[in-house]
């Protein structure tokens, strides 16, 4: 009771939580799977309203096959969030820069495409490392560093691409992304695999457990022998690496890239990552929740498109779902605890 005493109100909360435990199976499940239930409902609704679209395999191909960029970006974002850093605002620009670089180096400068890809990923990773060093070693505010870095990277991307869309990657390179298996492009499988590995890492490996501990309490982790700073810098580095790989795959998938477009991912990627906290592990950022959130949002937006909704309506849906889902999950979770 030592610590709870300092927060008198929490004593009550703890007591309530203990009492609540046995009763709350329903609450437990509802706070974890409410969003998935809503997803299923949403699909059902669209199926009734637009059967011709929703029973068409192309629709599902689009929902599942078209979100890989977003999955990579959300994974990169999660890296730093999990270890307790505030959001890395530079991942989208970093992703965009990698996509631009691989094309420009290959097409404009005639580099071998694989070398171009490696260099692009290396540049993104380097950006991640610089973020990490500034935040962790120098102690500069995370938002400042990543916002600034994001702006710089965006500037570099516009500069090397001369603000033009660039394209012309060789098809054999593109095939690493576009080849279809079971109707879905490889990028889908890569994206899902990334999230599964991430989830596995967090759930089952020492590194993952250490990351969660660092996210929860740095000092305790350090004294327990966890190399806290190394893990934090590592998280930024991996965020850069994943953004870089995602960017290169995106360029391969689309055969080209454009500097400004990375910014359009910002909203969906934040939305998915935060909506993910309402799925599977309420109140906690988690890769699988994020993955589901990506597809959930894609379903909603596509369904609305089928219904002929304007982008305005899509935005209202997007924002509304995010707030409502997380609000409900917060309330349910609080009850269930």
């Amino acid at each position: 009771m030592t610590d709870t005493k300092t927060i008198p109100n929490e004593t009550v909360a703890v007591a309530a939580a203990r009492e609540a435990e046995p009763h709350s199976w329903f609450g437990w499940a509802s706070s974890r799977f409410a969003v998935i239930a809503v997803w299923i409902l949403l699909i059902g609704l669209f199926m009734v309203l637009r059967p011709q679209n929703m029973f068409h395999p192309g629709t599902w191909g689009s929902i599942f096959g078209g979100q890989s960029d977003l999955v990579f970006l959300s994974a990169a974002l999660l890296c730093t969030i999990i270890v307790g850093e505030f959001v890395d605002m530079s991942v989208a620009s970093n992703f965009g820069l990698a996509a631009i670089l691989v094309v420009v180096l290959n097409v404009t400068h005639g580099w071998n495409v694989w070398i171009a890809a490696l260099v692009a990923i290396a540049v993104s990773t380097l950006a991640g490392i610089i973020n990490g060093l500034l935040v962790v070693r120098v102690g500069v505010n995370t938002i400042v560093v990543t916002l600034g870095m994001g702006t710089v990277l965006l500037g570099i991307a516009s500069w090397v691409s001369n603000l033009q869309p660039v394209s012309g990657l060789p098809p054999e390179f593109s095939s690493v992304a576009t080849t279809r298996i079971g109707g879905l492009p490889i990028t889908f499988y890569l994206a899902v695999a990334l999230m599964l590995v991430f989830a596995y890492l967090l759930q089952f490996t020492p590194l993952g457990r250490n990351m969660r501990f660092v996210g929860e309490n740095r000092e305790v982790s350090r004294l327990a022998g966890v190399r806290v700073n190394r893990i934090r810098v590592g998280a930024f580095t991996f965020a850069g690496l994943i953004a870089g790989i995602g960017g290169v795959l995106s360029a391969a998938y689309f055969g080209g890239a454009e500097a400004m477009t990375s910014q359009t991912y910002l909203l969906p990627m934040f939305a998915a990552t935060f909506l993910g906290t309402a799925i599977f592990q309420p109140g906690r950022f988690n890769p699988l929740g994020t993955l589901v959130a990506v597809y959930f949002l894609a379903t909603g937006v596509l369904g609305l498109k089928f219904l002929g909704a304007s982008p305005a309506i899509s935005n209202i849906f997007y924002g509304g779902v995010l707030v409502i889902a997380v609000t409900i999950s917060t309330i349910l979770h609080r009850r269930a605890r």
Partner: protein
């Protein structure tokens, strides 16, 4: 050199300029309709055409999509609108969706080929005709049985703007040209305007200021800087009305709102209302978006049925403070196409398609 000759040629230029301005300022007597009818349109009922605009956030694409839907609806073809949201991911997935769904055709609007090269190649490989609208034909991707281009009125608009400025300034204009650097087509449109200026207004000065949607926040300071750098600038031109507000902000911030005349291209009802309000805009050009929707439908039908396609032109019109009162500034009027010519073009197309 004999001064008389110069005067003569100048007055020649003058009169032809007047005529050109007169023409571009008035609505057409009739929209240009292709001559060759299309056979077998009736068999297409029940199919679906995908329409993929670069972004629905820009209002012109809603107009086109509505018209395209209406046009093809007349022949029983469904139009599936899929918002490209300005990023390759969405554009690619829209096109991929159309390909997988076995669309009768895929129409992209204002999407540079390079932005979705793989998806567009894949669609054509699957035998689906692709129509690239609102882009200048891409040398690397020539017109084929499965690929057609609907041009934009971009170059014509820029030429009209050049002509109006020449006239308005008596050939002495100092112009700030905000050029959208978002794609190759935009650059080409502006170039057409610059070429025209060079011809008809040798004494005009032009400063180019590249703007881009990725750097929207910098439009304002870049306009200010250009104006402060050269306070004699009298005309500020935008090729796209999308940059109107930040541009005006830059003019205002430089304190030159009274000495500068604003001009813009690709204007919609909002921009025309701003022109009518008489604050900053003096002239604006627009293209017949409603008609363009029908042209896209026509080209789609031709590619689907294997009918040879004509060269299309999208009419443009110059609006000034003089003629702005002659049109109705409503969304309905804009969607009907009445600003540019008689709205009967719909029946003409339907007749061509054999469904009238």
């Amino acid at each position: 050199e004999p001064p008389a000759a110069t005067t003569g040629s100048e007055s020649n230029v003058d009169s032809s300029l007047d005529a050109a301005l007169e023409a571009v300022s008035s609505p057409l007597d009739a929209y240009p309709i292709p001559s060759e009818p299309i056979d077998g349109v009736a068999d297409l009922a029940g199919q679906t055409v995908y329409y993929v605009p670069i972004t629905l956030q820009s209002p012109q694409f809603s107009i086109v999509s509505a018209q395209l839907t209406e046009a093809l609806g007349n022949v029983g073809i469904d139009v599936q609108v899929c918002d490209g949201k300005g990023n390759p991911s969405d554009i690619g997935s829209c096109i991929g969706q159309g390909t997988q769904a076995g669309a009768a055709a895929i129409v992209t609007d204002a999407v540079p080929y390079g932005l979705a090269a793989n998806a567009l190649d894949a669609a054509q490989a699957a035998g689906i005709p692709v129509i690239i609208a609102n882009q200048i034909a891409d040398e690397n991707h020539p017109t084929s049985e499965t690929l057609g281009f609907v041009p934009a009125g971009g170059s014509d608009q820029e030429v009209a703007i050049a002509q109006w400025i020449t006239k308005d300034s008596d050939g002495t204009a100092n112009i700030l040209m905000n050029r959208t650097a978002d794609g190759p087509s935009q650059k080409a449109y502006v170039q057409a305007g610059l070429d025209e200026l060079e011809q008809i207004c040798p004494d005009c000065t032009v400063t180019i200021n590249d703007v881009s949607s990725s750097n929207f926040p910098q439009v304002t300071p870049s306009v200010s800087a250009a104006l402060l750098n050269d306070p004699t600038i009298g005309y500020v031109v935008n090729d796209f009305a999308q940059f109107l507000q930040p541009t005006q902000g830059g003019v205002q911030a430089a304190g030159m709102i009274d000495s500068v005349k604003g001009v813009t291209g690709s204007v919609g009802v909002g921009g025309l209302q701003a022109l009518a309000s008489g604050t900053y805009l003096y002239a604006a050009t627009g293209q017949a978006n409603a008609y363009q929707g029908w042209v896209e439908a026509d080209l789609a039908l031709r590619l689907i049925t294997g009918t040879p396609a004509p060269e299309y032109t999208i009419p443009v019109r110059l609006f000034t403070r003089d003629n702005i009162d002659s049109i109705e500034l409503t969304e309905e009027a804009e969607a009907s196409g009445e600003w540019f010519g008689p709205t009967t073009f719909r029946d003409d197309f339907l007749a061509l398609w054999g469904v009238a």
